[in-house]
């Protein structure tokens, strides 16, 4: 956990070198990381408990169909037998935990004969690729725009950035995605006679990635830009920035060494969850651009009550989130010396 240690107690009796050693950053960091990783076990356990309870309290069974001929009672009984759903809920729960301990996340109800591990393993690379790509856009673009807007406060650059951020936040990404498809696919195809256009969806490690990644990144970019701007404006007012100017530092150094080093601290706090959010997939982007990822798979699993898939995906999410937060907390130590791990 990250807590701030009091002012270092510099023992008068200990030689300086020894004091350094006991406070060795690498040592305490490794210890801290190991502890946090161990903490993931109870976190995942509680996530499973909550999900399990919610799952079994939700109406509708995995075997109900959206319409048309419903499965007969016999078939449902046999399916329950096949997937162990006829057992008492407690037994199902402990069985699940037992299996998870053996890295067996079960069989999907929806996709016959497919294991959850197979389905997630098959879909996550797509989701993660788009997510990482979007994240790579967010950091330079979002942070960059935010800094630019703050440094050029009340100029056209600032207004344009703020305006962009506002509209990126108020048009949900499926609308933005669809509008981009209209423009970059349909209209571009028409105008250029099919010579130049972006594909309107589907997977491919080429221009197929552009629109989904941009669509996914847009809202986080806007948010990051606004956050960076606000934080940078707070920082610019600080006395130590005036000190930096008074030293005769060139603007570049004032901005990089003094403004950014401070103003990016709150931004980093949110980048962790943002990263987790991106790589766990967006239903909407995956649906609009038909990306075979797990964001859509999760929603399909929920709406079709595919219990093992719901649990498996939720466990994955919780681990990704815990890891992202851990990374942020560790990163914190490096960017803010006031924060120390213990």
């Amino acid at each position: 956990m990250a807590v701030i240690a009091g002012r270092p107690k510099r023992g008068a009796l200990l030689p300086v070198g020894l004091t350094r050693l006991t406070e060795s950053r690498a040592g305490s960091l490794a210890f801290y990381v190991v502890r946090r990783v161990l903490w993931m076990i109870p976190v995942v356990f509680f996530v499973i408990v909550i999900t399990f309870v919610l799952m079994h309290s939700a109406q509708g069974s995995p075997w109900d169909k959206a319409g048309g001929r419903q499965l007969s009672d016999v078939v449902i009984r046999n399916l329950n037998e096949k997937y162990g759903l006829n057992k008492p809920v407690f037994e199902q729960f402990f069985l699940y935990i037992w299996n998870v301990l053996h890295f067996d996340f079960g069989l999907s109800y929806q996709y016959q004969g497919k294991t959850v591990v197979e389905l997630i393993g098959g879909g996550w690379p797509y989701t993660a690729t788009i997510g990482v790509l979007a994240f790579l856009l967010i950091v330079p673009v979002g942070v960059g725009l935010g800094i630019l807007a703050a440094l050029r406060q009340n100029t056209r650059v600032d207004y344009a950035t703020m305006g962009f951020a506002t509209f990126a936040a108020s048009f949900p990404n499926f609308v933005i995605g669809a509008l981009m498809v209209v423009f970059f696919s349909v209209l571009m195809y028409k105008w250029t006679g099919g010579d130049f256009f972006l594909p309107a969806g589907g997977w491919g490690v080429d221009d197929h990635l552009i629109m989904p990644a941009v669509t996914l990144a847009l809202l986080p970019i806007a948010y990051t830009a606004r956050l960076t701007r606000a934080s940078t404006l707070e920082t610019i007012r600080q006395d130590y920035i005036r000190t930096a100017w008074a030293k005769g530092l060139p603007e570049r150094l004032v901005v990089i060494r003094h403004v950014l080093k401070n103003s990016l601290i709150p931004v980093v706090t949110t980048l962790g969850p943002t990263f987790a959010f991106l790589v766990t997939g967006s239903v909407i982007v995956e649906t609009v651009f038909t990306i075979p990822g797990i964001g859509r798979a999760f929603v399909v699993a929920v709406t079709s009550r595919d219990y093992p898939m719901i649990l498996g995906t939720t466990v994955l999410f919780s681990v990704v989130i815990a890891v992202a937060n851990l990374v942020v907390d560790v990163l914190y130590v490096f960017i803010d010396p006031r924060v120390r791990l213990s």
Partner: protein, 572 residues
């Protein structure tokens, strides 16, 4: 997520007047066949199949692939009036109507070159009927017809011995390699249609066991499905074979060189899994898809587009939509009240305006294009004054009805249609009812538990174009799974079950039709449901797709997929 309405419009096909040739004749005359490398068809199957084992498939997007890879004994003809030979070159029915003998095509081969044997058919049917595997389409089609299958429900699925005994006792036999016989429990005129269902396919025992890593007890539920996981082990005898499965993205089909009817012209069919109708619409316009279903909201845009409007085709589906009343709830148990609701919906406005004149009004049960279609009974026709009078006659006040909610699935289309319908009721009957929009599974679960007031748009799509497939859904014993039969528990539809059962086993077609007609009038007159419209598909098909035989039974958004063997691409 749910782009499909509450209907599994599965099926076989349909009659002359409604068969629209996509190429409208022009392609057939003017089109020169494009070279082999251009013989590529890209279509949108919407959703990835839950299983590639045809016996496990229940949705049209699953059958849309299964049908190409495997071939049933018989298949519906293009008009949907009768069956035509497929994997069986002919079939005989014994005079008592109990034994069906199918003569398999001699020299037919699997896509890996092995000969197709009658034993493969027996194995395929046994695979389908294995209760441990809980295939969705066994009941009521096979367990109520095939001899020995009536004990399907009582087999202990944990006991391999019991399952084996059950499977061995089924009326399935392979007297020689080219003959497959099925014995029935009782005569059933519709059984020729049952064997056209995409689930009734041959399966190779050696492939199943090899994929499973050896033989396995019949009670095993996972090993018998391993073969269906990989393109290499999905060996069929249909016109195409699966070349590649890209999960949740697409499936690529290539010709099966061993197909008895010769290899098809199309060298590659890619069925994409695009759920978002707008995305599919865009991909059609950028040439990535050759056929799509136009989202209802875009119909006017297509109509006013000079290029797209020429590529648009409308054709009927064997699907009827209606509003379902929960007859277990007073005063909805009163047929007059239900009729008042039925008569107070202006179908012209609903279908011509809200649905852009794609869907067509129907006031009866059996859709146009199927034996049994009869639009003479207009009891449910729009008449607001008569509807009000009916309510008064029933002595029902607005307050009693206002507490009812219109259960609605969370799709834009359901919301739109129900938004219109509830407005009609509120306006024409002086009510103040509201919608209850909930996620699809919850809706189904509530319907099964009769925990709703009025639900819609609800409907039925033909599994095959025989009326037996339709009338059984109102049986008393379907209450609890489909709900429609629940009306009988509330004292409605007297004598319906007996009448329909009689018609189902009757061998004389004219007598069957007469009995079904009586049953249909009963449904209309008691306003068990309020009929709204027959479903039509509004598709865009590229002009260079030729040789298509579009039928009313085509799987959703896959125009002509029953006869893709004959389709081809012209020079463009």
């Amino acid at each position: 997520m749910h782009l499909r309405m509450g209907i599994r419009a599965l099926t076989l096909a349909m009659v002359g007047a409604f068969v629209v040739s996509a190429c409208g004749g022009t392609n057939e005359t003017s089109g020169n066949k494009a070279p082999a490398d251009k013989q590529v068809l890209n279509v949108n199957d919407g959703t990835e199949p839950n299983s590639y084992d045809p016996t496990q498939q229940t949705y049209t997007y699953e059958a849309g692939i299964g049908r190409e890879v495997f071939e049933t004994l018989l298949k519906p003809n293009a008009q949907g009036t009768d069956v035509q030979p497929a994997a069986a070159s002919s079939f005989d029915v014994s005079s008592d109507g109990l034994t069906y003998t199918f003569h398999l095509r001699s020299g037919a081969k699997w896509s890996d070159g092995q000969p197709v044997k009658a034993a493969d058919w027996v194995y395929g049917y046994q695979h389908l009927l294995n209760p441990a595997l809980a295939a969705g389409y066994v009941d009521p089609f096979f367990d109520t017809t095939i001899k020995g299958a009536d004990s399907y429900a009582s087999v202990d699925v944990a006991n391999a011995g019991a399952i084996d005994t059950f499977l061995q006792g089924l009326g399935l036999a392979a007297p020689d390699d080219n003959t497959f016989t099925i014995t029935l429990q009782h005569p059933a005129a519709f059984f020729k249609w049952v064997v056209t269902l995409w689930v009734a396919e041959p399966i190779r025992k050696d492939i199943v066991e090899k994929a499973a890593g050896g033989s396995f007890p019949s009670s095993d539920t996972t090993k018998p499905e391993i073969w269906a996981q990989k393109a290499e082990t999905i060996i069929g005898q249909g016109p195409f074979k699966i070349q590649e499965i890209a999960p949740k993205d697409h499936v690529t089909l290539v010709p099966n060189p061993n197909y008895w009817g010769g290899a098809p012209s199309l060298q590659k069919i890619t069925e994409w899994f695009i759920e978002d109708a707008n995305t599919a619409y865009a991909k059609y316009q950028t040439g990535d898809l050759d056929a799509i279903t136009v989202p209802l909201a875009n119909v006017d845009t297509v109509r006013s587009d000079p290029k797209l409007s020429k590529e648009a085709k409308v054709y009927p589906k064997l699907t009827t939509f209606w509003m379902t009343f929960n007859a277990m709830k007073s005063p909805l148990n009163n047929p007059d009240v239900r009729m008042a609701f039925a008569k107070s919906i202006d179908r012209d406005k609903l279908n011509k305006q809200v649905q852009h004149d794609i869907q067509q009004t129907i006031l009866s049960f059996i859709p146009k294009g199927m034996a049994g279609y009869d639009d003479s009974n207009k009891a449910q026709a729009f008449d607001a004054a008569a509807a009000k009078a009916l309510l008064q006659k029933a002595g029902v006040t607005a307050d009693q009805l206002n507490k009812f909610k219109l259960l609605t699935r969370n799709t834009t289309r359901s919301k739109t249609l129900n938004g219109f319908i509830v407005d009609q009721w509120n306006t024409n009957l002086g009510l103040n009812m509201q919608l209850d929009v909930i996620d699809s599974k919850t809706v189904t679960s509530r319907i099964r538990k009769s925990n709703f007031d009025i639900y819609g748009p609800d409907g039925w799509g033909a599994d095959y174009p025989d009326q037996q497939d339709w009338f059984d859904i109102f049986f008393t014993n379907s209450c609890g799974s489909l709900n429609w039969g629940c009306v009988q528990k509330a004292g409605g539809l007297k004598g319906y079950d007996e009448l329909v059962q009689k018609a189902d086993t009757e061998l004389d077609q004219n007598q069957r039709n007469a009995d079904y007609k009586t049953a249909q009038d009963q449904l209309i007159n008691e306003a068990v449901v309020a009929f709204l419209f027959q479903d039509y598909e509004y598709n865009l098909i590229k002009p260079y797709v030729a040789g298509l035989t579009i039928t009313a039974g085509d799987d959703q958004s896959l125009p002509g997929n029953f006869f893709w063997h004959d389709a081809y691409i012209t020079q463009h």
